[in-house]
Point group: C2
Chain length 355, copies 2
Amino acid sequence: MGRTSSNKARTKPDVAIAAVPEPNGPVTSYDVARYAGVSQSAVSRCFKPGASVSKKMRERVMKAVEELGYRPNAIARGLITQRSNMVAVIIANLRFYPEVLVNLSRGLSRRGLNMLLFSLDDEGAANNTVEQIWQSRVDGVIAAANLPREQIETLTRAKIPLVFLNRNYRDVPISSVSCDQVAGERTLVNALVNAGYKSFGIIAGPQNSIVSRQRTTGATDRLDELGFSDHVVVFGNYDYDSGGTALRELVAARGNKMPEAVICANDVMAIGCIDAARDHYGLDVPDDVAVVGYDGASQAYWSSYDLVTIQQPMQAMTEAAISIIQDRIENPGLPPERRVFLGSLSRGSSAKIIK
Amino acid sequence: MGRTSSNKARTKPDVAIAAVPEPNGPVTSYDVARYAGVSQSAVSRCFKPGASVSKKMRERVMKAVEELGYRPNAIARGLITQRSNMVAVIIANLRFYPEVLVNLSRGLSRRGLNMLLFSLDDEGAANNTVEQIWQSRVDGVIAAANLPREQIETLTRAKIPLVFLNRNYRDVPISSVSCDQVAGERTLVNALVNAGYKSFGIIAGPQNSIVSRQRTTGATDRLDELGFSDHVVVFGNYDYDSGGTALRELVAARGNKMPEAVICANDVMAIGCIDAARDHYGLDVPDDVAVVGYDGASQAYWSSYDLVTIQQPMQAMTEAAISIIQDRIENPGLPPERRVFLGSLSRGSSAKIIK
DNA sequence: ACAAATATTGCATTCGAATGCAATTACAAT
DNA sequence: ATTGTAATTGCATTCGAATGCAATATTTGT
């Protein structure tokens, strides 16, 4: 039952066939069609790259589009095409790099995709978040947070492409982009041992963080291999204050003796640790104690700290995550894929390593 | 022409009236209706709070929903209700506080709104971004970035509620949430002058930043009022390196003389400035030179810096922005509104002010 | 038990753009 | 001019959920 001659009840009765531009109400493709004296399909085709439209038609439609200020309704388009052109990005509150978000946003929008941001506050919220995501009919999900198995299942069954950024699940066949945490930590330990450090303290991240566990065991395993079993592990929560607190715990746990080197699971705790070593213990870094971090956060390079750390190629990683998602959106049949990057040792001055 | 008996061509011909749960394809409200032996409207109503549904009906539908794994399609809903339940957030790349994004995301999602994130790379991109936003049919826009007048116009004409966060346009009637930059800067200057500082250097932000201009003129005006016209202004770009660079420019501009106090337009530059004072000039902060910042960034409280700064109530500000947007989504007639907060002096030790 | 009032339910339509198919037009070749 | 072929255009339908209205079913009052 077409509706070419009368779209809907606007404020004015439509007496004329081609009305003057109406100032109110959102302009639809029918409005444009009517104004330009063509069919709605023609208008639609003018917005589809590679569609069959004559030059004359395109000009005519575009003129009307211009004059009426028409913009295609992405929601209506999404309904019929089954593509929302949106990608959900999930982050955990703790410890995310601001530049990652900016990179993701830029990279996605460069590919014509919009970014829906979700921030988990605690694991319980993941249920609700995944529910929201599912209802939004996003084309894909980039998760820079841990998701419960059940939620991963849900997304997989709904055939929504999913990629984990900076964490991977060994026993679930899911795409991920990560950095080899163990290799990085081994590099750090090697550098410290080569430089002659002999006693070590380790400040791990939260116990439920997979990345922290990988980093920590990477360090302890390598230390064990090299015959340095004199190492104590304490836990922080990735933030500045916990770096200092953990250092004090560490020293207490070692019978009030400061280790020669402290290995921190991330840069921010390393910074907190350095400040505590200086202020609370009056020590010099690196003369009295060495401190190393992990991440390559921008603050790591501030000259008050100048950390020895592992620089993760976050730019390359975000690009990889985006391309994995995009590939799977365009080609739903693709199997999961894991891309693992290697971090590089950043030779700062918070430990006296050999340059 | 209803379609109760046969929704669409699935893989199998629909012989039975109530089919077993089909494993493939997204489940629609029609599928649920058919499976439960009720009408599609009934299913729809079960998801609308306060709709007229009997207990028996609700149970029956929910059972089917559960068994089929149905989730309402937000896109289809958005088309008919004319509400996408999405709010666009625009940030500029430079200088945004990570926690602001997290707060926005949480606050919006607590109100059932999803957050579409857009990151501007340069002002030219604003055109494109606003275009995208418009097409997405978001219910509102929170801008933590400068937008060209023309784009503001576009959004206003499209009747999309818009609120600026942490910046305001004096001569355009637009909602905004901001912090009184001038008052904050005056507070800082007063504190410095009261403490006896007599010569000043000012490190401003980028020339096109409105906030930077407000902060800078706030400082210079107050200094002038108090009779200290001995102040030089140099420009940075809000990042760490530019703090150090600007300090050197400042000293050069004053005939190689270090001022007694340096007033920086944000915390990160203040930190860069402190590091440069210590490393490049071998000076002590605050004994040889005082440095003050602005923002209350988390790093400002790190003990290596412990800045005297103005703490902006960002949490309250984001909440305010969200509530302004929500009010205007629910009640499109509301006039624009400006909420101005006041920052508080954070009495760190980067300047010897009176506690 | 019966009429009136109220609560549920279903029908049919709507939102705005995309698209398969058929109809029409433009263009080329004879 | 005529027929054939290719390029355009329009028609009618579709996506999935919400909703006004009418048709039932239930409850209430008497």
